[in-house]
Every structure is written in C-alpha cells, then in structure tokens.
Symmetry: C2
Subunit: 219 residues, 2 copies
DNA sequence: ACAAAACGGTTGTAAATACAACGGAAGGAA
DNA sequence: TTCCTTCCGTTGTATTTACAACCGTTTTGT
C-alpha cells in the first residue's frame, strides 16, 4: 500500500497532509487495497457499503443496467477520485449502481466509521482529512447537479454541447479528451449511439466541432 | 428565530440535539432567518454562496431556465430539508441553479465556516451537527443519483414509472402526493407536458395508475 | 361574485429519436 | 499474415417526442 502514498498525496482526500502522515494514517483509517482486472466489478448494485473508496490506479465507470439490457453510465472515476460517498450515512440503503473497472485498477477502501471518528493518538491530520472528505462529497454533489444539467437537455445535440463545453471548461482547453468511446458516451448521455453519431457528424459539417476518436475540439 | 426551534429539532441537521442546545447554537452558528413570498428567488444562478440553508417553512423548487426559456426543475425542497450544500467547498464556483419559493417560505442561513469550525465554548453538540450535516450531504448525493436514474430513462412512460414508484417507496404507500403540478412534473422529468399528459392518460386507461390532481395511486 | 389567470387534457403535425442492420476500418491474438 | 472482435459511421423505418393551438375547468385575486 505504501507504494501509493505519492498518489494519495495528490488526492482531494489527503490534500494538505504530508507523506509520512499519510503512511501513518493508512493503518489508523483501516485502509485496505484491492486490485481489479479490466471488466471486473468493484461494487454491485444492491450491495451494502460501509467504506469510502479512493481510486489509486486505473479508471472506473459507475453504471447501471436495467433488466431490458439498457445500460446507462452515471459517471467516470479517475485516479485520485473518491467514490461510494453517497452511502456513508448509516441509514443509506443498498447501492443503486455497479462500479466496473474500465482497465486494470487498484482501489483503497477506508472504513467510514474510522474516518469519521477522530482518533486521539497518532493522526495529527485526521480533522483535515474529515474536512477534505466533506468538501469532496459536496463537490461530488455539484458534479451530479452538473450532470443533471446535461441530462435535462431535450435534444442529442444540446446534450453533446452541454457536456463537451463543460469538459472544455473543466479541462481548461478547447481540445479535450473524453474517457468514453462512442457507445459509452451515448450511455453516459442517455441517447442512441447511432443518432448521436449522426449528430456529431452534422456538428462537424457545420464546423461546430472537430473530433477524432475520443479527442474533441470545440470551435 | 426561536419560534422555529421545534421545526429545527426535527431536521436531519439537528437530529439528536435538544431544544435548549439548538437555541444556544443558533447564535453560535451565525444563523439568520429570511422570509420569502411565493415566487420570490431565494438564490439565483451565478451567485456565490457561503452558507448552508435549511428550509424552516414553506416549500422551494430548485430550477434552471436556459436562455431559450426552457425550464427544468432539479429538485423540490420541503420543510426541514437542507440545500445549498453543493457549494460549501471553498473552491466551488457560482450557483448552477435558481431556488424559488413555491409558497411563502422561511429559510435559515448558517455560515459554513462557523458550522465547520467547532467552537470551543458553549455548543456541546457542535460535532453532532457537523456529522449530521455530513450524512445529510451524502444522502442528498444519493437523491441526485436517484434522479439521474429517472432522467436516464428513454421514454416518458419509463420516466413516470421510475419517478412514481420511487416516490411510492419513499412515502411508503401506493397512494402518493407529489409536490408538482403537471407542468412542473414535466419540467422535473424533462419531458413535454402535453406528451406526458397523454402518457398519463394511457397509463390510466391500461389500469397502471389512477390519479387526480397531484395525488396518484399505483396499481 | 366576477374577471383573469392558471391548469390540464386533447388534437394534429413536424421533428427527433430509437432500433435494427450493414460494412469498412482499426486493433488484437494466434 | 489471417482471423476475429470491436468500433463507429451510415441508412431506412417505426416509434416517440416536441410544439403549437384550443378549450373547458379550476383556482386566484379583488
């Protein structure tokens, strides 16, 4: 686990905490590290969760399949990001989504109660971490509101523009790389792949955007 | 403000805190109370916020109008609920939505920094409140994921079923009352009102549901 | 009580989307 | 290389949705 301290240092959760303190906190917080192969499930819909998770390596999709086989992707988790935070309240029920490894990944599990309960002894930065977690959850919340904004758009084109321009803002560039292929992007925006492909083509014809694979440029 | 202590006592934020302690904490937390007439804006898109808000009386809609006049309703806030929690992180930007009073309402404003920073003196239950806030935000998060689930459905009928059955689960009854009229429900689910009205009629014809005004029964 | 506004169901038409199927291109594995 | 799979753009058709307009009913304000 120690090998990932440099990764953890750059996460929102451990922001402001030094390497040696992170090392110390790993045991204090009851950290466990699990590895997943591409395609494996990290979490499954219906399970119960009492941990906060941090992605140390790889990438994940948060998604949901209904029983007609319709898949929707709710979110993407990149290295250093927190997930599972919607289930930390004691009365929160079963998981609403699956979490799946898009590539080989490593995930830290932190026991919620040990994170929330400040330990008297070693960890000088425990309160910092709790506060960081708080802000991270709040920010996650903001991200969900953002996604609701894409989803509330009526047409495929509007969804694409809303998503791409938000990504451009987030990545601070008109050239962006998205973490989805076409099918995944369609599942993320809840539209039909072929219709979306059409719309992307039309938008390119009109000079609104350029793209190649999962790399887009907004004009 | 004291008059609302019985209301606050029943909120998630002050769960487990006695009346006299709530009274004491109001000043400690820098509480302010504002009143709004029906239709007034509590918050506006683009503003910055450094408070956590609790609805003491009335009801609110969280909504967004784009500049084509398309309105979407992101959520409903009932008495005792927390809102504005997506903007507590120091680096969180401008508000993404408007918050509007659906009826005459009263709102508590709590300064985030004073809530987050445990004061040494009077408030014995400060840490309880912080933990409550944490769980509330986490739960809010879960609610947003739930809403993303409605929104990801492709057809109006699926959205209606997803929403109504979730409400039935939440209200623990097959008879439910929803906080929206038809236009508002359409804006909440991001569908056309007339198309939705049609679909509701068809669902009634098929015996799936019964309804009258904003009261629904699922069969 | 009255007028005005809001509400909700209905209809018809245009537009957008979903669905299925196809095929070329790209990428991996043997 | 060759085979197989995945990816993604394209097409055509059926379905669904959006939009606008209308009207009787209900609600609201005075």
């Amino acid at each position: 686990m120690e090998e990932y301290v440099p990764v953890l240092r750059r996460t929102k959760l451990f922001s402001g905490v030094g390497d040696e303190d992170i090392s110390a906190m790993l045991s204090c917080l009851g950290a466990r590290l699990k590895r997943y192969k591409k395609g494996e499930y990290v979490l499954r819909q219906g399970e119960h969760l009492s941990d906060i998770l941090v992605l140390a390596e790889g990438s994940l999709h948060i998604r949901r399949d209904d029983y007609w086989g319709n898949r929707s992707i709710l979110g993407y988790v990149g290295v250093g990001e927190i997930f599972g935070e919607a289930y930390i309240a004691p009365e929160s029920g079963a998981l609403l989504n699956d979490v799946v490894a898009v590539e080989d990944s490593s995930v830290f599990f932190f026991d919620v109660r040990r994170v929330m309960t400040t330990c008297s002894s070693a960890c000088r930065f425990h309160t910092t971490v709790v506060q960081n977690l708080f802000f991270a959850v709040s920010d996650k919340n903001r991200g969900l509101v953002q996604k609701l904004d894409y989803m509330s758009r009526r047409t495929t084109r509007e969804k694409l523009i809303a998503y791409l321009s938000e990504e451009a803002k987030r990545q601070n560039s008109a050239d962006i790389v998205i973490p989805f292929n076409r099918q995944q992007l369609a599942d993320y925006l809840s539209v039909d792949r072929s219709a979306m492909s059409n719309e992307l083509g039309r938008m390119r014809d009109e000079g609104l955007i350029e793209f190649n694979k999962n790399r887009f440029r907004l004009n």
